[in-house]
């Protein structure tokens, strides 16, 4: 009898935590299948219906994985992204932790902005980092805006305390984004 109780309890916990596998995998030996889809820079399109903003499976894969987000954070500092974007509040470049996205806030759009660069100063990193690294960076940038799974988001860094820990950031809408999306960041 007692063993049956144990077994059923175990099973419940297993089912409840089934999301753990994907979230925690240290996926250091993969190259993402190249996505052909060119993310749109705006949700506005003729015909009346706005573009669907649901992230792709690949994007979600990176957004939900704690290791990829963590690696992205490391790269964010290694490749001097922090020099222009601070710890997410921006400096030379725009803030990344607010709800305002010049070129779109979905992970696909962020990935495209990193790889292709953007006018007004964002360099094109194509060829200077691998596609997987670009996805990891995009996942971290999503985390800066509170747009990743809370269980995968990193907390404070072992560094100067700059922002609230990313686990504590409110999630923000990731509309496909317009350069003119003028939502003031929270004060």
């Amino acid at each position: 009898m007692c063993s049956r109780c144990l077994a059923s309890a175990l099973l419940t916990v297993l089912l409840a935590g089934a999301g753990g596998c994907e979230r925690e995998r240290r996926e250091y030996h993969s190259t993402p299948a190249g996505t052909d889809a060119r993310p749109a820079l705006t949700s506005f399109r003729p015909g009346g219906a706005p573009l669907d903003a649901a992230p792709s499976a690949l994007g979600r894969h990176y957004q939900d994985n704690a290791f990829h987000i963590g690696q992205g954070g490391r790269l964010f500092r290694s490749y001097n992204c922090n020099g222009c974007h601070g710890a997410g509040g921006g400096a030379i470049g725009p803030a990344l932790m607010d709800a305002q996205w010049r070129y779109g806030g979905s992970i696909e759009q962020i990935h495209a902005s990193i790889v292709d660069g953007r006018p007004n100063g964002m360099p094109a990193w194509r060829g200077k980092l691998t596609d997987e690294q670009a996805w990891q960076l995009a996942a971290y940038v999503s985390a800066l805006a509170g747009n990743v799974s809370k269980a995968a988001a990193p907390s404070r860094r072992d560094a100067l305390s700059a922002t609230p820990p990313l686990t504590q950031l409110p999630a923000q809408p990731t509309q496909p984004g317009d350069a003119s999306a003028q939502q003031p960041p929270p004060q």
Partner: protein, 576 residues
Amino acid sequence: MMAMLPGASAAAQADGDWPMPSLDYANTRYSPLQEITPANVANLRVEFTFSTGIDRGQEAAPIVVGDTMYVVTPYPNVVFALDLAKPGAPLKWKYAPPSLPAAQGVACCDVVNRGGVYWRGKLIFNTLDGRTLALDAATGKRLWERKLADINLGETLTMAPLVVKDKVLVGNSGGEFGVRGWLAALDAQTGKPLWKAYSTGPDSDVLIGPGFRPHYASDRGKDLGVRSWPNDAWRLGGGTVWGWISYDPQLDLIFYGTGNPGPWNAEQRPGDNKWSAGMFARDPDDGQARWFYQFSPHDLFDYDAINESLLLELRIAGKPRKVLVRPERNGFVYVLDRASGEVLAADAFGPVTAIDRIDLRSGRPHYVADRQPRNGKVVRQICPASTGMKDWNPSAFSPRTGLVYIPHNNLCMDWLASEVNYIAGTPYLGAESRMYAGPGGNRGAFTAWDPQARRIAWQVKEDLPLRSGALATAGDLVFYGTMDGWFKAVDARSGKTLWRFKTDSGIIGQPVSYRGPDGRQYVAVLSGIGGWAGAIVVNNLDPRDATAGGGWVNAVSDLKQRSNAGGTLYVFALPR
């Protein structure tokens, strides 16, 4: 007792023009006009305004020659010529140079421009994307253009050029991107490069020759621009020249400072890091260095040494000396003998915790040991903050009062150094910081410094850091602006605020005063928040990140409520 160098102000025409941002080669920003006085300044009112249509940080000084005023805007560096002879000063011409938008990505501190210079019928100015242009001042036609800086390496041009003996002197910006600093001289007629003096590297690149006689032993030696750096690091060593140049026609020397060494993280560049964070005296003809003095050997906290040098005569030990007075970023007012580079005095003009004192014998600052950053450890309460006790925004000097009027910050910071990678075209910093108000809680101050007595004569405390230049007039008034948009006139002798006017945006520009075609005295200033300090507004930074904007956001997290972006010229005069 004290006088401006006669002749140095020869360029300051008695007729009341303002042909270059500093007005004169001595960098005094002292207008001889005396129509506006403490007695009547209360009546000062707006004569006309002009919207530049560009709402980034307006750091330029309007240039006035004859009946025309020239305004250079931040990127995309549009030049407007306004006809002062006509009522309301309508637009005479406008020149919009073609530009590279990517340059905005390597401009450390907003896409600013500190103004043009008028020289013999030309208006000469720099563009952010690395070019120097000369326009026909009458028509706005381009006369020549020279590309000097490469944005792919992180170089930009933000300074106001200076013309000395028919040579246009231009230095680069980009000390936050691991560039190598230089000052170049171009032929003012054709734009042909004449010489280029680097701030790091072998003596041949730095234009150090047999005529180089620095006062202090630590500046003597062969190829110090290489040997005072770790292997190869001088190539990324900064020392950019983006501030003010003074010229002494009698000694025939130019004086200018070099910016911070790269990267910010001092642990990555052991050594004195010559010739960064110091100042050169050079022969303007061939660029050869005469002397050098380093304000911050092995600079720890981004203390660029690009501030203005006021060329004055002071009585020191009973004898009149030709000196150079510099309110420095590191918090000290230096008095140097301008012939030799010897430090005659160095006194703190605000709370300094990073440096004990300046040893006058060796000329070296004594860094406070427990404020020395080490990788991975936050150092707290560093005063002044990396933006300096006083940043680039220039002070003014009035020979009538003998005081130097210094608009400055009162900020301290916490600083964390960490290892940084050099990737060309990306920031090369290796440090994060949080700035905050220094002792007293006022983030800015307007200080009248008595260089003779070496003490503060009076001081106006300002809530926000002061980022505008100062203007002194013969009417015994001093003008400056605040980041929340107030343009103020204070009594030059007491510091009492006599008049103020609220402009539409924060003021970080340089006020000027001129005599209009109608013979009246005018005061002009550009209003438009921005720059390093105002990036939170113009770049919409997120105040939840204390390190945003290079640490400035933490110090001015309320700025979005205090000021909005703008870009308007204000011109004031007494009622007719």
